[in-house]
Subunit: 340 residues, 2 copies
């Protein structure tokens, strides 16, 4: 019989449709796009992007010329910009403000490779260090409340058809809804239990042994109990920490991410996916209410969601998800993959 | 400059990316699927579905034989079932229950037509009357808290490739997350203003005149101020009402829906879409807290979401949406369509 499982963080019920029981081979994954003939993100084409904000460069090379290993540039069609006034105002009964913030592109390698799995561990660690550096820089702007870091891989996952490994940062003057919900959920749990919900979840998963994908270097990757999507994976630091940018072991995280993404890629034939870093908002010390206990009750993590099923409008409209593959089955399948 | 607009109901901020300014012709819509050679929902193939729960039949025709205009059958792969115990229980720190409920298919016509726009107004009214009848029947089961009614049109929107007009009902022993959020938001507004938020929104839209798509027969259809998706449309009864199944003018609703869906179909070249009815939960009289004022503060409505853009994982993961087409532009475009 299918089960209804409850996400303990935000209280969302998910149908785990065990009887439909999609096996990994049932997923028809279309990750194709016409092969591009030209890439604006490759070394030598620096003039085709806006001027770089940051780069890891070899000695004696000038900005916006070849000689780099990683570049950060403003998004070519930025959704947010740092210039201008916030202009928070009403419009009749409604509220709006200008889209003050930042929208950056992290070009993760000078090589024309598509997937993060094709980078070596040191380069992936550089990507995480770059995220941290950009977050710390944007945190100084008192108008910014949150920095969302995410990756769209494959056109099905919302990426453009250019197959050059990159991720995005959107800095916002508001907190995203989902983050607020997590903060509220974690605070409620902490008030009741006096423990971090995510720390409890890590202990639970280590005991249960059925949903873990990787566990090393101080990080753990598992499929959440109430997974919304088949093969959804969360990666967390085992030691409690609310801010992603307090990470001081980017190489350990890189190793675990490479393992996890490698298993997904091999097991599901290079599927489209997204990942999104969930971290605590900025400037909580000056705020009130549920921000107060956040150092103890929130726990940063990365949510990886392969795009194997179509999200029906019913799911978008109701907040109610149907997952045809129990996370235990998905974990078992990935853990049987030996060669990477 | 792009705007951040706030949804007044659940407080979600949306980027309205005016500068990317996608015009309707920019959307590449793939609503194709291989043409099916056989349809289990056509008249004459009644044996290919589970036995009917309800049907509108011509005189002297037996159940599960030809002679019907509309049929309701259990979904062939039901996500929920009425038989069994709820079995609400813990599993370590987690919560689960059996998927007690119902999952029904409303086959809207005996003809092999794909889109609701191809039905006449009387037949569409029959579809709404059938929704009401099924909701009233399921409401009697004290285990059921909510009946979600929705339609997936086109494979991109999550439908199977069989092009026969139908919708689905999922009856749940829990309230969907999104509905809870709307109830909380409407209650807060009511407590502050002593008015229904949706009633205020209707008055605002009538004055603003820039987002209305249809307004007749006691119903109004407009594009919400903080639309998450291009061409998102909400249809509401102008007179306050919290329960969809208290509707007594299904023909008026059918007329407005046929107009709205016709404009979408003509204007956007038969796009994939979903619609979902948002109505108040069952059995609120026996509950506590925010259910108490619901008769005054909640307002049923239908949310129509064409599937023109890929939802990036970033949006699913953050609850933060990017809409490349301002609703005012989308409304203007649809309202310039004269012939239907």
């Amino acid at each position: 019989m299918p089960q209804l499982r409850k996400d303990p963080i935000i209280g969302r019920w998910v149908i785990i449709a065990t009887e439909r029981g999609k096996r990994p081979h049932d997923f028809v994954i279309a990750n194709d796009a016409p092969l591009e003939t030209h890439c604006p993100f490759c070394e030598g084409n620096e003039k085709e992007t806006p001027p770089e904000i940051y780069a890891i460069r070899r000695e004696n090379t000038a900005a916006n010329t070849p000689g780099w290993d990683l570049r950060v540039v403003p998004n070519m069609m930025p959704l947010m910009q740092l210039e201008g006034e916030m202009g928070r105002r009403g419009q009749g009964m409604f509220d709006l403000m200008n889209a003050i913030g930042a929208h950056e592109l992290i070009i993760e390698t000078n090589k024309h490779v598509a997937n993060i799995t094709e980078l070596d561990v040191d380069q992936i660690a550089c990507v995480f260090d770059t995220y941290i550096m950009r977050i710390k820089d944007l945190e100084k702007d008192t108008r910014i409340k949150y920095a969302l870091i995410f990756k769209n891989y494959g056109v099905v996952a919302g990426a453009s058809p250019i197959r050059h490994s990159r991720s995005q940062l959107i800095a916002l003057p508001v907190n995203p809804k989902r983050v607020k919900e997590e903060l509220v959920g974690c605070k409620r749990y902490y008030e009741y239990k006096e423990r971090c919900l995510f720390c409890d979840m890590i202990r639970h998963e280590i005991n249960a042994k059925v949903r873990i994908i990787a566990h090393s270097d101080g990080f753990i990757a598992f499929m959440p109990y109430a997974s919304r999507f088949p093969f959804e994976i969360w990666v967390l630091p085992q030691e409690h920490s609310c801010d992603f940018h307090s990470l001081n072991n980017s190489k350990g995280l890189a190793r675990v991410m490479k393992t996890v993404m490698g298993k997904l890629s091999v097991g599901l034939n290079d599927p489209p996916y997204n990942y999104l870093i969930h971290t605590a908002p900025f400037r909580r010390k000056t705020s009130v209410g549920y921000w107060k206990t956040i150092d103890y009750d929130y726990h940063w993590h990365i949510e990886i969601t392969p795009r194997l099923t179509k999200v029906a409008g019913f799911e978008l409209g109701s907040g109610f998800y149907i997952n045809p593959t129990p996370p235990e089955d998905a974990a078992k399948f990935l853990n049987e993959i030996k060669e990477l």
